[in-house]
């Protein structure tokens, strides 16, 4: 009997202690088995540790619970419901990919839980913010939306691919995903007209493709000057085969696997010459002191992959702190409108060598971005015009060299290496 009472008392004491300190609950939603998901999760973990060490928020400690999506749309809906109904979290931080975010978005609208998306960049969600501001008040996206990413990428096409390399036609090699479709649309509709690059052919492939040789042959047969790849799933396969087959035409585009430091190892060293668009901060991107400290702390804490957080890890780290600061100003997360107003005011400016380097702020409602001529309420602030003195550019282009190093090639203000074609391409 004594043992039973002892166990019961211990359990009760533990529960009470947990309840006493776990007053603000943050829910992570995303894949626990991908570098992308882990980047967001770890960024959030580090921010929470720092906030708790500094006394918490509003005198309360923060705890984190996770809900794995497995990058599956339906699992994403279940995960959000689990966080909302079972865990009853106060705030959700997401490292979900596009269609998974679209899957749980109706649940966020229903539960009205403040939510920060650190990876999804779909402009359609920002359009929903514009059309239904009240319903979308809990939602913030602290990555530049894909329209902003593409707009600057078009400049890369004009300034580098066309002006410097002299390329005039492209063949698109895109995976059959939502991401692939969106980027292909933007490239065909904008790259051509603005940069003066003709799209010769669009080749769509299944994400399970293991042999790209026939696709590369088809791309060569199109007669285009270069290949534009769009790959977010198993991206190391297409790039390593491109290198191993020594495809005799240049290839650039979007390759998600090349966004992480593991890329070189994942491709067995066969990744040289691949360039990709990347949100900021990317691999090869010079860091300001605050971001550099974050990376150093991250690498001291985590030894497994990803050894360097992807951009969304930075977004989660700074974004979670901003969400908590907004909650402090709004008196908690309960009053979504008050939290929304406070979150919109969050503005973190990070400098490097006296120059504005990174800015974690948000576009306001009604505020028009000059280049695109549209609004981006509750979306991460970005700058599309050199010298980028209002915020960082929406993206950079990075390139892996044949010796395994990586650097930024565009925009020129942030570049630390030059864009070049692989040695086997004449």
């Amino acid at each position: 009997m004594t043992l039973k009472y002892g166990i019961a008392a211990s359990v009760a004491a533990t529960l009470l202690a947990t309840t006493a300190i776990a007053d603000i609950k943050v829910g992570f939603i995303g894949s626990l088995s991908s570098d992308t998901g882990l980047s967001t999760l770890r960024g959030a973990e580090m921010a929470i540790e720092e906030l708790n060490a500094a006394g918490g928020v509003m005198g309360e400690q923060i705890t984190l619970v996770t809900a794995d999506t497995g990058e599956d749309v339906t699992e994403g809906v279940k995960a959000y419901e689990y966080l909302a109904e079972t865990e009853e979290v106060d705030f959700v931080i997401s490292g979900s990919i596009d269609d998974v975010s679209l899957g749980w978005l109706p649940r966020m609208q229903e539960f009205q839980i403040p939510t920060l998306d650190t990876w999804t960049s779909y402009i359609g969600i920002i359009d929903q913010v514009i059309e239904e501001p009240d319903l979308m008040a809990p939602y913030f996206m602290n990555i530049a939306s894909d329209e902003a990413l593409a707009t600057l990428y078009i400049n890369f096409g004009a300034d580098v691919l066309k002006a410097k390399m002299g390329w005039e036609s492209v063949v698109i090699l895109a995976e059959d995903t939502a991401f692939g479709e969106a980027i292909t649309g933007l490239v065909t509709e904008a790259l051509g007209p603005v940069a003066g690059i003709e799209t010769k052919e669009i080749i769509t492939y299944d994400i399970g493709t293991v042999d790209f040789a026939p696709l590369f042959s088809k791309a060569q047969a199109s007669g285009a000057d270069f290949i534009y790849q769009v790959s977010s799933v198993n991206s190391q396969v297409i790039s390593s085969q491109y290198v191993k087959l020594q495809v005799p035409m240049a290839m650039t585009g979007v390759n998600v696997s090349a966004l992480g430091m593991e890329y070189w190892e994942d491709t067995g060293g066969a990744g040289g010459g691949i360039s990709t668009l990347s949100p900021i901060p990317s691999v090869g991107f010079e860091l300001d002191p605050v971001s550099a400290k974050f990376v150093a702390d991250y690498q001291a804490k985590y030894t497994s992959r990803p050894v360097m957080p992807h951009f969304n890890g930075f977004n989660a780290y700074h974004g979670l702190k901003q969400a908590m600061a907004a909650a402090e100003e709004a008196g908690g997360f309960g009053d979504v409108k008050a939290w929304n107003a406070a979150m919109l005011k969050q503005d973190l400016k990070l400098e490097k060598d006296g120059k504005l380097w990174l800015r974690y702020g948000f576009w306001q409602h009604g505020e028009v971005e000059e280049v695109t001529g549209r609004t981006y309420p509750q979306n991460a602030r970005f700058d599309l015009t050199a010298p980028y003195d209002d915020a960082q550019p929406s993206m950079v282009v990075i390139q892996w060299k044949e010796d395994g190093t990586v650097g930024v090639v565009y925009p020129f203000e942030y570049a630390n290496t030059e864009f070049e074609v692989p040695s086997w391409v004449k």
Binding site: D72, K78, Q128
Partner: protein, 330 residues
């Protein structure tokens, strides 16, 4: 040779259904128990039950065709997807009210399935399974590229009108739909038609030899199965609020449906329901302890053990348990 209409007429009159008072009592208890759930469990559990209810509907639908006749369909998500996409397109692109879009979705599913899959019923065994699998895969590939202005491409269609809001309302809607489907399927399977479908699964040649048209019977089973899949898919789409090709035409959706039936017990009504609830709840219960993909391995191992112990599923385990209890009493 008695025709399908004659068979239906005979069974519709109630002859041969062998209904007993205890059937009604058991159904009443089951329905009452399910309807009382919101009083007994939390909202989080109710949300899980909603998914279980929809999976049960899809599983019952699959079982009517495959569990009874033995024609294993790998294309069922195709039917569910047609129902979902039809109501989504009608409501979001053309402004149809859901009262109209859902019945239309059911009809379109029956018609679409009839055109695409019915010819496959003339082939047997693994060939039938492969053809249906090919149809589903084809749909997965086509939806994103054919008329993306309608289907929304790979990002699907968002902001579908919600039929209800909140865990309780969502649960009542889903459970009522599941109970209606289950009761209908149970009554259908107690008719001579149901017996004939079961007989096809046992020995199709014998059924044909007895003078029944197996093609018509299979067509009937297929149409009923498609109607239920389309109905479930349409309601499910409005529950989710967003539909994407990956959420409907993915091979995992197919596995979930088939595993629910096999674990619960094929060829029964309660089996697919038990299997669906078992699967969905097991995964959700494991979530706090195994938040990552490891829970799928544990769940797979448990499912495999059950299947190895009793290939006829949980229903057979329950039935043998009841038989033993009765034997012990006597």
């Amino acid at each position: 040779m008695p025709g399908l209409a004659q068979t239906l007429f005979i069974t519709a009159s109630g002859a041969g259904m062998n209904l007993r008072p205890h059937h009604f009592i058991l159904w009443a208890l089951f329905i009452a128990g399910m309807l009382l759930m919101p009083e007994l469990v939390g909202r989080g559990t109710l949300r899980t039950m909603v998914f279980a209810c929809y999976l049960a509907i899809f599983a019952i639908s699959w079982d009517i065709l495959s569990g009874r006749t033995g024609y294993i369909s790998f294309g069922h998500p195709f039917l569910v997807g047609i129902g979902a996409y039809t109501t989504a397109i009608l409501t979001r692109r053309y402004g149809f009210p859901v009262e109209a879009s859902i019945p239309i979705a059911v009809l379109v599913t029956m018609f679409g399935g009839l055109i695409v899959l019915l010819p496959a019923l003339r082939i047997k065994g693994s060939y039938f399974a492969l053809v249906t699998l090919a149809v589903m895969e084809l749909m997965y590939q086509l939806v994103p590229v054919v008329r993306p202005d309608l289907t929304g491409g790979t990002r699907g269609i968002s902001r579908l009108p919600a039929l209800t809001r909140g865990a309780e309302n969502g649960y009542y809607l889903a459970v009522c739909l599941m109970l209606a489907v289950a009761l209908f399927a149970w009554l259908l399977m107690r008719t001579r038609l149901g017996t004939a479908l079961w007989a096809i699964g046992q020995n199709e040649e014998s059924v044909r030899g007895s003078g029944l048209s197996t093609t018509r019977l299979k067509s009937f089973a297929f149409l009923v199965s498609a109607a239920i899949a389309g109905l479930g898919g349409a309601f499910y789409a409005h529950y989710l609020g967003t539909i994407t090709p990956r959420a409907f035409f993915d091979i995992n959706v197919l596995f979930q449906i088939i595993v629910a039936v096999l674990i619960g017990g094929a060829g029964t009504i309660l089996g697919p329901i038990i299997g669906a609830f078992f699967m969905v709840f097991l995964l959700e219960w494991l979530r706090p302890f195994l938040p990552g993909q490891e829970r799928f391995f544990v769940y797979g191992a448990i499912a495999l053990l059950i299947y190895m112990y009793q290939p006829k599923g949980i229903m057979a385990i329950i039935e043998s348990g009841i038989t033993r209890l009765r034997g012990a009493r006597t």
